[in-house]
Each structure stands twice: as C-alpha cells, then as structure tokens.
Point group: C2
C-alpha cells in the first residue's frame, strides 16, 4: 500500500482576528492545491480515505483533494495536527494496511510530515527532506511486519516541480 | 548548489552481440527521457555540466538532456559507472561547489545513485529510495563544510510522476 503525506497549501498570515488554527488557504495556496489535485487525478492516483489535521488550512487542502475525486471522504485525525506523534498514529496506519483498504492520504504540517517520512523509511529523523506547501511525499509500505524503518520513498515533490 | 542524480532511461536487453556496457536506450526509454528533458527545460532547470557514466545507455541519456539545452556539455566520469564509489567522486563535487560553477547533473545507475543520495542526505545507506529508469533525485548541498550527511532531498520522481 502507498501512503501520501501532503503538506497543506500556502495559508494567509495570522491576523488580529485569526488564530493560527483558523488561518485559511491564500488564493495562491488554493490555486496551487487545485493544480496539484488535477495532476494527481491525471496520474490515476486514488485513495481509500483522506485524513487531515483539524486545522483550517489542512482541512481546506483535504477538501480540494476530495473534490477532485481523489477519495470518497475526508476524516479529521488529531495526530496530524501540530505536535502530533507518529507513534500515536501508527496503530491506525497498521490496521488500515491490515484491512487492505487501499492507498491513503494524510494532510498535515511541517515539521511532522517530513520527520514522519524519515522515520517510516529510515527509522530516524534528521530533517533532510524538503517539503514545500502543497508538496507531496510518497511512501510504499512493506506488505507486513514493522512499518517504521521499512518503507520506501518513491516521491518527493513540490507543486512547482509537478508542472 | 543543487545536484541532480539521474538514472539512465530504459535500455534494451543484452543480446549475443551486445555487452551490458553497450546496451542502448530502448525506443521507450528514449521517448521517456526526451519527455523528462522537455519537462526539466520547462521548469527552468539549468546545469553547468552533465557528468555521465561511460556506459552507452547513460551517455545516450546525458546527450538527450544536453540536446534539450539543459547544459552546455557532457563529460564522462568513471566513478559514475557500475561499482563507482561516492568517496572517489566527492573531491570533484567539493571542488565544483567551491568554484561556484552552478548546478550539476550526474547520470548513472542503480544501486549507486540511490545509495549516494542517502549518503549525501543522511550519511548512511539503507536502500530506501526508489529510483526508476529516467528518474531524478534532487539534492541541495550545504554552502560549505562536509557534504555527506548534510544535503537536503528536495526531489524524487519517476518519469511517470512528472506528467
């Protein structure tokens, strides 16, 4: 199974009336995310589910991906929010794989997603992966057994490098 | 500076009259490489030089990239051939960076290129990066100091994922 870790699109700055959690996508972030969604669709990518961080900019990103027909539904997962721990999310990922429910997308934030990808592939975090807003990390999970340290990284891209 | 490690395109099988080193690109490999070259050009990628393994399939890949206007010239480097060692190539890379000669492309083979990328970013090789024929690994080098273990991985793509 394949796991796609996707960083939310560019968001507006926090203002007096807007907390960090409520910041929406900027017009530019929305446009880039729509373009990425269209490209993924053209590539034949299809997910059983899109999980998302509860923050507005992530939820909006997930909804754009769902709206493009990439998955039937979106669900919030607190572990994908800022400060979330991979260890807390792994049981979900393991049972998803076991149930054979297809590929999975998870929309979240930095530094988590890039660090999680390193943990999943190499078993340790060194902050060596660049993940731009709207960027994608693609991981192939082993068919069985321990997931961390045993995934393969087949895709790292920014929206700009997905023309 | 950015380093692009590029695997040669798909090649024909070795036959009675063709040694492994002489295998040329297949029509499919040539077509995919030409498409990748065009995409790179569209993205504004520009290299000061394309280094290539001495093997025919790598030299042909490098010539297609040069022909698309991505670099002024191609040079062979034995270290990029099968069995080449990153340690033997590092002095060239370090002096290239020091001289500020721009971004650099290196066309070669598996497993070397994927292992080299891991060494450059994480300082160790675990075979966790997938690199398809005609695929690209993009690394950002640190401005100074030791290169292995200090690069950032900003791009992993197969030709198929570069639509």
């Amino acid at each position: 199974m394949r796991l796609y870790l996707i960083r939310h699109g560019k968001a507006v700055s926090a203002g007096l009336a807007t907390s960090d959690a409520e910041r929406p996508l900027s017009p530019e972030g929305r446009e880039a995310t729509e373009r990425v969604a269209k490209r993924l669709r053209g590539l034949g990518v299809q997910w059983g589910l899109i999980l998302t961080s509860p923050l507005v900019r992530a939820r909006q990103t997930a909804e754009i991906l769902r709206g493009a027909g990439l998955a039937p539904s979106v669900e919030e997962a607190g572990e994908l929010g800022p400060g979330g721990e991979l260890a807390a999310w792994l049981p979900f990922l393991a049972s998803w794989r076991k149930e054979g429910r297809g590929d999975l997308a998870a929309v979240g934030h930095l530094p988590n997603l890039a660090l999680w990808a390193e943990s999943l592939a190499w078993g340790e975090e060194k902050e060596r992966i660049v993940l731009k807003p709207g960027g994608i990390l693609g991981l192939e999970l082993p068919e069985s057994g321990s997931i961390p340290g045993n995934c393969s990284l087949f895709w790292v891209t920014s929206p700009k490098l997905l023309p």
